[in-house]
Subunit: 329 residues, 2 copies
């Protein structure tokens, strides 16, 4: 049977497990040019919260009554396509289910000889390419500039910080809790990491950027982002990648718009799927760094499809450490 | 005697006339390479509010006890410089005073044969170059795109709108009151202008941009800007030039940061004095348009230096119509 998690209703405020439902359906048969994939890994990403609302976002909403959307890594178990053989590892936009039938042109082979399949959902997948795109394409940091990234140990933030270090930048992270901050500094090589849950967060952040901030890779939004904006240098750049602190709440009223004016800041939003042509070469570069040990990553793994909603909610609350995945049987 | 308006104290909240003081001082004598200028026109501009505070801004603060800063147009009445003859019309950063002694390298000749001297403080001066720089350099509008500008009949906004019309854009203004809006549409050629003081402002603005907004030239900030941000198109651009509604008040809490993300907006602050090399060619282009009748402008003139603080406060409240000037005797 195909184990599926469907969207029961769009969440109001914080996502609840009861907004989803686990159902069983027959595994569908495949037609010409299709493959049947047995998923091994489901990807959980903050952007998915934006799909769980009827309003305008940068992609179509999930649908109430349908399988929740998302990417997955799996193995081909039946093929009616010349392109794919049974046993090959692939990525697809399967959604939260154990089995997925896909047209072959929407399926991507992955090479699991040097890295695990799960990496293609994180450091070598959408999150890694997101980090590269925002940092290199919008922030364009120069050596010795100060780069700040929040959600610093997440799937995106951890790549941002390590890339910026490799460019010779002073890199400061913001993360939730001492364990994550220690990891950012000791394992990932950040120059500093400030715990946003500590009572002296604002002062500590200011002390960590004695020359001000030149580049921000923004994942969180809310009061953290507002404080970061107050510390920006003239002609600084902000790549706006996410606002995870606001997805389940009222939008935050940001009082630092004046900093954009006074400091001639460029603040630019971006969505990594806008430039699909850039992905292959970016992934090649990231893979080289992973294989040579210059780009580290961490994963938080939930087990079994039934735990997917819970893991998703935990990720939105920052309970994950690195890339949040669900391992299927 | 030199009539001067000095800053008595930095305003708290709204500027008051009592924050300034009119004093008389001897007209100073000039040294080598200096000129003595008798001012005819004082320029009043929204940016000056930012100088009346001790905090960090994009330029040095005015000083308590010193003449209030600003540009002026006048006539050379004494010269110890080979570059300037008595009787020549010039611009200088005189501040609010009747007479000004300046080093010749800080004085700029103006040609008043085809246009009045006052134009060099407005359409052919800092405001005109500001309009050009933000629109052409940041917004980069394409034909048929929708361009929105607020403070639409001001010294900057009126140039923005007319330039955008000349590029083939759909141009919508926001201004305070029916008279200004009628002027924007009937005289300046805007496609629409919405009165932000009307009770149906939000709905009216939405109706005026049926295809959404591609470019914003932002002068006002606050709730108007927030609403504008909610109407932006994917890949739209915002040139942040001013936040006049917030200069005398608490900063506004802008809840539309998410629109920047979802719509991949580029929001960029700029200060026209950052690129002095670009000014001469921009002013030449603007002058050609003025002389050929393709660029109109309006002035509000206060008379006598004693009325300068009152006129300044009026301008910050939007009581001016076009460029606010003070005519000196």
């Amino acid at each position: 049977m195909n184990q599926q998690i469907i969207v029961k209703q769009f969440p109001k405020g914080w996502v609840k497990e009861t907004d989803f439902e686990l159902v069983q359906a027959p595994v569908p048969s495949i037609k010409d040019n299709q493959v049947l994939i047995h998923n091994q890994w489901l990807s959980l990403d903050p952007y998915m919260r934006g799909r769980l609302m009827p309003g305008k976002s940068y992609a179509a909403s999930a649908e109430v009554g349908a399988v929740m959307v998302g990417q997955a890594a799996g193995v081909v178990i039946e093929s009616n396509s010349k392109e794919f053989k049974v046993g090959e590892h692939v990525l697809s936009y399967s959604g939260w289910q154990s089995h997925h039938v896909a047209n072959s042109e929407l399926v991507k082979k992955i090479d699991v000889s040097g890295v695990p399949a799960s990496a293609y959902l994180g450091v070598l997948g959408m999150p890694g390419v997101t980090a590269w795109t925002g940092l290199m394409g919008i922030c364009e940091p120069k050596p010795n500039e100060t780069v700040l990234v929040d959600a610093a140990t997440g799937a995106v933030g951890s790549v941002v910080g390590q890339l910026a270090k490799s460019l010779g930048c002073h890199v400061v992270g913001v993360a939730g809790g001492k364990t994550k901050c220690d990891y950012a500094v000791k394992e990932l090589g950040f120059d500093a990491c400030i715990d946003h849950s500590s009572s002296d967060f604002k002062d500590a952040l200011k002390l960590a950027v004695p020359s001000g901030i030149d580049c921000v890779f923004e994942n969180v939004g809310g009061a953290i982002f507002e404080h970061v904006m107050s510390l920006m240098n003239p002609f600084s750049r902000i790549a706006l990648c996410g606002l995870v602190s606001e997805y389940n709440a009222q939008p935050y009223g940001n009082q630092q718009i004046r900093s954009i004016l006074v400091n001639r800041i460029k603040l630019q939003g971006f969505i990594v799927t806008d430039k699909p042509d850039t992905w292959p070469s970016i992934i090649d570069s990231l893979k080289e760094k992973v294989l040579s040990g210059h780009l580290k990553y961490k994963e938080t793994i939930a087990h079994g499809i039934a735990n997917t909603p819970k893991a998703f909610i935990g990720m939105l609350k920052g309970e994950n450490f690195g890339k949040q995945l669900v391992k299927l049987d």
